[in-house]
């Protein structure tokens, strides 16, 4: 696998994360708009299967950066240091919120975690948008993309939940999906030359590529199975865990 193929893989991973985890972020950020505890729980159940299957995409993207583009990774970390701190901190807080909120029945406990989920989900999307902006190299781009990404995932999360509750057709979901993907795609295209410059040697890329290609069928099968769990209307065979 050449550096270009790795670049495409990185793009797919980032786009996949925006699409899958974006739905969880959007739902989390809008959690406060559900009036009762039970309704919040239904919304979380709608996107529940996407959490574990979605966040692995950004972890894998970080792995591609470390393994195939370590120089790009260290450059990005230097330029975007505070944004990265915000990204990982809000990511951890959002996850803790989702896993812990429903583990106790106390209303105080739950509403405190609901607040954490709302704030952390919003900061997470903003930080990701800002990180894309860091790649563009301007503070304005960072601020603009942060706001854009927050708004887009809100729409996307709402579309996924509505679709699972059977209250909309498929078209809005297609629209929001394309919308959350676009900032990622445009940014990668713009950063392409710098990315290729930061790649490791050709032989290392090839060796790594062999392993990833060998595992690809398994990766695809488990992901498709996870999507299958959310592709149907929410119902009695679903799991309410979060």
């Amino acid at each position: 696998m050449t550096a270009a193929v790795w670049g495409v893989l990185l793009t797919v991973l980032l786009a996949g994360w925006a699409l899958l985890d974006g739905a969880v972020q959007g739902t989390g950020a809008a959690l406060g708009s559900a009036p009762t505890g039970a309704e919040r729980r239904v919304r979380l159940a709608a996107v529940g299967p996407l959490l574990l299957a979605g966040e692995v995409w950004l972890v894998a993207a970080a792995g591609v950066l470390v393994g195939a583009f370590p120089h790009a990774e260290s450059a990005l970390a230097a330029a975007g240091y505070p944004v990265l701190v915000a990204l990982v901190a809000s990511w951890a807080a959002r996850d803790a919120g989702l896993w812990l909120r429903s583990r106790r029945a106390s209303a105080v406990w739950r509403s405190a975690w609901d607040r954490v989920i709302v704030v952390a989900s919003t900061v997470l999307s903003a930080a990701f948008g800002a990180l894309l902006g860091v790649v563009w190299g301007s503070v304005w781009a960072a601020a603009g993309l942060a706001v854009t990404f927050v708004l887009l995932v809100r729409l996307h999360g709402a579309a996924v939940v509505a679709r699972r509750l059977g209250t909309t057709a498929r078209a809005p979901l297609w629209l929001t999906s394309v919308a959350v993907l676009s900032p990622v795609l445009v940014t990668v295209v713009a950063a392409w030359p710098a990315l290729m410059h930061g790649a490791v040697s050709v032989s290392a890329l090839a060796a790594l590529g062999g392993i990833v290609l060998a595992a690809l069928p398994a990766l695809v099968v488990v992901q498709v199975a996870a999507w299958w769990l959310v592709a149907r209307p929410l119902g009695r065979r679903d799991v309410v865990f979060f």
């Binding site: 966040e55 972890v59 792995g63 990982v88 896993w99 490791v200 679903d238």
Partner: protein
């Protein structure tokens, strides 16, 4: 403190937090897999309850473990860019395999296990968890390959100051990766064993048939007692196997390690930690055999009430011990490597980023403060979940029941297959 010290401290604290979760994930995993399989094969209630109880603890522990792991993953780029610039190709490759293959599969499979509970055939569901365990172990091994390279760099050459892989097999078969992985696996099984034994001991002490002043019967009195007796047995077996593995692989590490070098820079901490680790392993092996012998004909559960209560209380109190020892083990390994980040190749002080100390301190306070807070909350929740026993488990519960407990309205209850109170009453009125 300088930026270098702060970056190292930050990494050490985050790595320790992460590792505490890893110990339990890897130690409890095989036991949940066995319980799930026995449930799939026999269909017995005790195995269903056991799978759901231990599975739920596994999940709540896993969740924070990956959050901490994610924070850790970004530390290299943020604070040790020199490591990536020089050794990125060698050190980064196993980490890339970890994130792209092993962890990716592990997490997705675990999601399928949780959320496919009511949809997948039982045999497939049980198989999924075995795959979670397998990919989890693969994930830990790839991290040890990366870490082993730092300790004992092999299979590479330096060209113009950049390391390139020349021998993949040597990199993977590196004793600092292979033997140390077995050592860590042993440590994890010990931790899993202590949690199984400690929690079961607490539950049994509170159980009407085994707790209090009575002498327990040969056979468990009910499903609940059966569950905790079985968990206790599983814990003793897991802990003993783990302690034997940790000891065997622990001594095997001396065949390639230079312990004089290891204690050179931090003699006090490294020397003491090593001594504690070795002493602890002896005690666990000894205690493990005693407990295993007491399992014959269920003698452990039928001890005289005072002896039994004292013993069970002690076992519960000892629960955190292997976690403390696991951290000491890492101190031996990581401090023992200093002043090198890659032994003989690269010094720690030469790879640190040029972020000012104030920025590193800020991120230390934010990230470590956050992760420690979340970790403590998580352990508190785990404790409460353990104390609640096998009642009111959410994992694997019918969705309608969970939402009913949450006070959902009739529309939601109908959607999730639970008959709302009013509707259920209706036919009787007609009749």
């Amino acid at each position: 403190m300088s930026a270098v010290d702060l970056a190292r401290l930050q990494f050490a604290l985050l790595a320790a937090t992460h590792f505490l979760f890893v110990l339990l994930t890897l130690g409890l995993g095989p036991v949940v897999a066995v319980l799930g399989t026995r449930w799939a094969v026999t269909g017995r209630e005790v195995f269903e309850r056991a799978t759901r109880f231990w599975g739920q603890l596994y999940l709540v522990n896993y969740a924070l473990g990956i959050a901490a792991g994610i924070v850790l993953e970004l530390q290299f780029g943020m604070h040790f860019p020199g490591l990536l610039d020089v050794a990125g190709e060698v050190f980064g490759a196993p980490l890339a395999v970890e994130t792209m293959v092993a962890f990716f599969l592990e997490s997705t499979l675990l999601g399928l296990w949780v959320f496919g509970w009511h949809q997948l055939p039982r045999w497939l569901h049980a198989t999924l968890f075995w795959l979670v365990v397998l990919t989890g172990y693969a994930s830990a091994f790839t991290v040890m390959v990366a870490n082993g390279f730092l300790k004992n760099p092999v299979g590479y050459e330096l060209v113009d100051g950049v390391a390139h892989i020349t021998d993949t097999a040597a990199l993977i078969l590196n004793p600092a990766a292979l033997v140390s992985s077995l050592h860590v696996l042993g440590a994890c099984l010990v931790a899993g064993g202590f949690v199984l034994v400690g929690v079961s001991a607490s539950r049994l002490r509170l159980h009407p048939a085994t707790g209090g002043r009575q002498r327990a019967g040969r056979q468990p009195a009910d499903v609940d007692e059966d569950l905790w007796r079985r968990s206790m047995r599983a814990g003793i077996a897991t802990g003993l196997v783990g302690a034997l593995l940790a000891t065997g692989a622990g001594y095997a590490q001396f065949t390639y390690l230079d312990m004089d070098d290891a204690v050179a820079v931090y003699p006090g901490v490294v020397g003491t930690s090593l001594a504690v680790m070795m002493g602890f392993a002896n005690l666990v092996v000894l205690g493990g055999w005693v407990l295993a012998l007491l399992l014959i004909r269920g003698a452990l559960f039928r001890l005289r009430p005072r002896v039994r209560n004292g013993l069970f209380r002690t076992l519960a109190v000892l629960l955190p011990a292997p976690f403390v020892v696991g951290i000491l083990g890492w101190l031996v390994r990581e401090l023992g490597r200093q002043p090198w980040v890659v032994v003989g190749v690269l010094r720690t002080e030469d790879v640190v980023s040029d972020q000012p100390a104030s920025a590193v301190l800020t991120s230390l306070v934010v990230l470590v403060g956050l992760m420690v807070t979340l970790a403590v909350l998580d352990w508190w929740v785990l404790r409460r979940l353990a104390a609640r026993g096998a009642e009111g488990l959410v994992l694997g519960a019918p969705p309608g029941q969970v939402l009913h407990d949450d006070g959902a309205g009739p529309e939601d209850l109908l959607r999730f297959g639970a008959a709302p109170e009013g509707l259920r009453a209706a036919p009787e009125v007609v009749r």
